[in-house]
């Protein structure tokens, strides 16, 4: 399964965590799930940190893209 969205990743992490908590899990399955889980954690963290609290002022819209400049009004 190819995880594309943040929500999908979260849902999958939920499943993996539950499975890892069960007693009957075999080592090979656990290792695979652990690896997959850590990849998802990284994916989610990255997604969340992609945006960086920037505040921009829109100066125009061109070809579907926002043109912007630094929003000058200072925040102390």
């Amino acid at each position: 399964m190819k995880i594309k969205t943040f929500e999908e990743a979260l849902a999958r992490l939920e499943v993996i965590s539950k499975r890892l908590e069960q007693e009957d899990i075999m080592l090979d399955e656990a290792v695979n799930l652990y690896e997959e889980g850590m990849k998802l954690v990284n994916f989610c963290s990255k997604k969340l940190e992609e945006a960086e609290n920037r505040v921009r002022l829109i100066t125009g819209i061109k070809n579907g893209d926002i043109e912007s400049e630094e929003f000058e009004r200072d925040v102390e």
Partner: protein
């Protein structure tokens, strides 16, 4: 020549009929003057403008329809019907509703607009607002309090949201066109997670533009999910109703945008911890099992093999312990290789099978030996009994005798006895030697 002469009553009744039939359910605007309550509790005042005056009566049971305190000099709009009082010969308007002038009409119009919008379904289309928006366009005044509130909260929370301010003017003559243009242009953007329409607190008049049907429709037509954040908690505008989500204030909107994100970061950390802890536990269990199996020492070769695997597991455990969880995930191919080897050879599985087989074998062997011993014991008893009962001595005791030749060889038949030879007859307590005569 006859002239029609009316009585006072007749003419006044005629005027009354004409007045009341023609001026029923009308709106009249003017200024309040000569306000007074009668002893019976009805309210009387005059509605005046520059050149005329109109008497007003509000009956006691209608006073509750007035939602504000009437004062002389106030400009109001009255809804009611004209009525002529025969005895006094005066006409008045009997008021059903009184509203503040301007606002009165505006509220009335707004109510009608709300009905219309609701009927068209503009209030009921609520799209899902993304819980973790990354890119948010805020339509607001770049110099207003709203933008400041939003920026402050988002900066403080550090939640990783990029804010794009679409600058508009939110009051004055240019406001409407400026906001409509913003909506049109935003619809040309390929991707944004959210559009927020924000305006800080202000008077009713200040916020009134957000009741404009064109602006509300324009906001409704924005192709991205929308949040309205206009004025204070108590202010509801048409834009609030068509938005996918209404925030009580611009600050509340900023909280909404960042809240789930802050929680999510926590959540992700929690998942990471759970993964690590469980993996650690599973590794520990596996290691314990391997150690246990190695103690059984089926063979030195397997023992050494397990020892190696334990080293691998120790290795991995150390890496997890030193909390390079991330590294493990990213640089996992190395570890994965080790694991693949372990799993492919799967000593635990093999050992389990071997152990099981051995146990089975042991059980079978034990069972067999036991059975053999049991049988042996039984046979021995029988033999011993037989041996006992077959002992010739015992037979002799019962009154039998045994005859042998001189060498002690038993004579089983008369034919074996030869004439003139010696025979020996054995009793249980002795024997007699005799000579055969015939």
């Amino acid at each position: 020549m006859s002239v029609k002469i009316y009585s006072v009553t007749q003419i006044t009744k005629l005027i009354k009929d004409i007045l009341e039939a023609n001026f029923y359910g009308i709106w009249v605007e003017g200024e309040v003057s000569s306000l007074r309550y009668s002893s019976t509790g009805h309210l009387y005042f005059s509605l005046v403008d520059e050149r005329a005056s109109l008497g007003v009566i509000v009956y006691k049971n209608r006073l509750k329809n007035i939602r504000f305190e009437l004062k002389n000099g106030m400009k109001v709009v009255i809804f009611g019907s004209l009525s002529l009082y025969l005895k006094g010969g005066e006409y008045r308007i009997v008021a059903e509703h009184i509203r503040l002038s301007g606002a009165g009409k505006k509220f009335y119009d707004l109510e009608k607009l709300k009905q219309e919008f609701k009927q068209k379904g503009y209030f009921d289309r609520k799209r899902a607002v993304p819980p973790y928006p990354q890119k948010v366009v805020v339509v607001t005044s770049p110099t207003g309090a709203a933008v400041q509130d939003i920026i402050n909260i988002i900066k403080r929370r550090g939640a990783g949201v990029d804010i794009y301010i679409y600058p508009v003017s939110v009051q004055g003559e240019t406001a409407k066109e400026s906001i409509l243009k913003a909506f049109r242009e935003i619809n040309e953007i390929d991707k944004t997670d959210l559009v927020v329409l924000a305006r800080g607190g202000g008077s009713n008049e200040d916020l009134w533009i957000f009741n404009d049907p064109d602006i509300a429709k324009g906001f409704f037509d924005v192709k991205f999910p929308t949040i309205s954040a206009i004025g204070h908690e108590t202010d509801f505008t048409l834009c609030d109703f068509v938005a996918d989500l209404r925030a009580e204030t611009p600050s509340a909107a900023a909280e909404l945008i960042t809240k789930s994100k802050v929680e999510m970061l926590e959540n992700i950390k929690k998942f990471k911890r759970i993964l690590g802890l469980n993996m650690q536990r599973i590794l520990n269990t596996s290691k314990r099992q391997l150690t246990l199996y190695s103690k059984m020492r089926f063979s030195l070769r397997i023992d050494g093999f397990i020892g190696n695997r334990i080293l691998y597991l120790d290795n991995l455990e150390q890496k997890i312990n030193s909390s390079v969880l991330n590294k493990i995930a990213s640089k996992n191919s190395q570890i994965q290789k080790h694991f693949n080897i372990i799993i492919r050879n799967s000593p635990s599985t093999k050992l389990k099978t071997i152990k099981h087989k051995t146990e089975l074998f042991q059980y079978k062997i034990e069972g067999k030996i036991k059975a053999i011993l049991e049988n042996g014991k039984k046979s021995l008893n029988i033999y011993s009994y037989k041996l006992t009962s077959l002992n010739p001595e015992n037979i002799l005791k019962r009154g039998y005798t045994m005859t042998t030749d001189i060498q002690g060889k038993p004579l089983k038949s008369v034919n074996e006895a030869k004439k003139n030879s010696y025979i020996i007859t054995r009793f249980f307590d002795g024997s007699i030697k005799s000579t055969l005569k015939k």
